[in-house]
Assembly symmetry: C2
């Protein structure tokens, strides 16, 4: 798609924000106030490999015509992967089937600006903390419910990263010991009950065991095999009984996961986002009430449960902030001791 | 009991470490290397109230004869409570039935040194990080399994505290959505399956439904009503079949809770401690194998699961470290700008 110009910006304060997912690459110019000035979507395929994805990134950047905006200071790249931010390496991206790809170096050579790499969910968390619904909040937890479930934590203005850049896998909090098989090696993970893939799977199971109750969902999707979480959330919005029950169950598990997060981390704010939450926003109310009723009273009293604000822009906005901060730090180092 | 002298120490480097539990107060002199030089135990009762407990603290401190050791720099007080460290207030101590007790002020007036207050489990985590099995570890998680289950996190040399000084309630990670009632408002909490109180409760339930299988545990305890987690762990050590099964179940749930912690937080080290773990150390092997098999591969590969090292001294050692650091910071402030 052609780049869309949003708002004006001065010529020197832009940073590239890039979000590499399993099916598309978003490239955006982000200004110093965290606003997306121009953006572009490019389709990619998981079989494209690092070279193909790098080409899509460069094409997306070209769509944004950074030169016409006075150039960019640096680039931040968010990837659905375990990344080593210090070395700029994608360690493991299950959806892209990458291992140990030195993506930052590769992009730095062609973009000719410093490139910072971060995990997409942590980048989105940082975006929400800096420019979204988490602003000004000392202890933030985000929970994104899309195809999978992921999250991130900000403590005292620091994005937690962990021992192996793997903090925030809240989709793999165990909510049923010995329960349903997950796509990961575990059983009973939150993601196996409340993610997009699980809701679709549970819907198809429910339809198979009660074809009459599932007839409407099958009709909407055009076949039982095509019933997905999107079918379920739209059915729930239109009052379909099975869809409502399925979203109710997902809400119960999401509530349990949220109670675990609130009890373990005691955040001031817990933000919910992602496609499943967009499709069935009632999940936010449901989670808020589970936290109020089931979390430890001091933690339950001190947390505000709400929705994320940046939507699909969160990763590019967040990773652009991180890239901007790194350039600033490097500038200070060059300028001599503080 | 009379104070016991352990090792020598110079006359000026000592800090008081005090641990206030529901049944006893430990007072100790801790040297700059985190070693307990002298210590004293004093019984308290939950009905003693703040004044009675303060008397026990002062008596315990007197037992340690700080003057004979050249005095102390400051005092750290660990309490099984939600505390406000900044204001030195015990906000809520369920076991002591205290609310909003300005304990630091009260003790400062009589001890005549700066007094720092911290939650006992967080203090113990800090002790393990600074002087115990967590030394040198950038991302540490501790899981203490005693009468209840609690924990703590250290990230990049900082003890996480949370929005309401309530971080670390890992006993209330939900491991069975909608499961067993907990002592807290929740259901299905880890603590309802794997804590000392739960193991005792589950044992008595199991004995009631199979008196023959439970005969040995009843004999050891001297009556079904006296069967506790201690009966179960000692029975398990001696090969009692029911006790082994009960500890197996507790291990499965503890494994699930540990997988949740490892996935959400990605620690470099996960340390297990507390009376139940001391009583049945096999839990550590069990948890390590659950993490290896069930956690996200990057997080599972990067974590070492082990035992805490400081045992019952962890809270006094940790809170003494915190008190020492605060005096040092205050000294630097008095000395002028850094």
């Amino acid at each position: 798609m052609p780049p869309r110009a949003r708002r004006g910006a001065t010529t020197t304060d832009l940073v590239l924000g890039i979000d590499i997912g399993a099916t598309k690459v978003i490239a955006a110019l982000v200004d110093r106030r965290g606003r997306v000035v121009v953006e572009s979507d490019r389709r990619v395929h998981r079989n494209d490999g690092p070279a193909g994805v790098a080409r899509a990134v460069l094409a997306g950047v070209a769509d944004c015509r950074p030169a016409e905006h006075g150039g960019v200071l640096s680039a931040g790249v968010a990837v659905a992967a375990q990344v080593d931010t210090d070395r700029g390496v994608v360690l493991y991206a299950p959806n892209l089937r990458w291992r140990n790809v030195a993506l930052a170096d590769r992009l730095r050579r062609t973009l000719d600006v410093p490139v910072l790499l971060e995990n997409d969910v942590r980048a989105a968390t940082w975006g929400e903390w800096y420019d979204g619904a988490g602003r000004g909040c000392a202890n933030l937890a985000c929970l994104f419910v899309g195809t999978g479930v992921g999250g991130g934590f900000v403590v005292d203005g620091r994005l937690l990263s962990g021992a192996a850049h793997a903090t925030g896998e809240v989709g793999h909090l165990i909510v049923e010991t010995g329960g349903r098989r997950c796509h990961c090696p575990g059983r009973g993970c939150l993601e196996a009950y409340a993610s997009g893939w699980a809701i679709g799977e549970l819907a198809r199971e429910a339809i198979r065991s009660d074809p009459d109750g599932g007839a409407e969902l099958v009709r909407r999707a055009g076949g039982i095999g095509r019933v997905t979480a999107t079918t379920v959330t739209s059915g729930a919005r239109d009052g379909d009984r099975l869809a409502r029950r399925l979203m109710d169950d997902a809400g119960e598990y999401l509530g349990a996961g949220a109670v675990s997060v609130v009890n373990a981390f005691n955040p001031a704010r817990l933000l919910l986002g992602g496609g499943v939450v967009e499709g069935w926003p009632d999940l936010v109310r449901r989670v808020a009430s589970a936290v109020r009723a089931g979390a430890q009273p001091p933690a339950a009293r001190s947390v505000v449960v709400g929705r994320t604000r940046l939507g699909p822009h969160a990763p590019v906005v967040g990773v652009a902030r991180l890239a901007r901060a790194r350039v600033r730090r490097a500038g200070r180092r060059r300028a001599g001791p503080r």
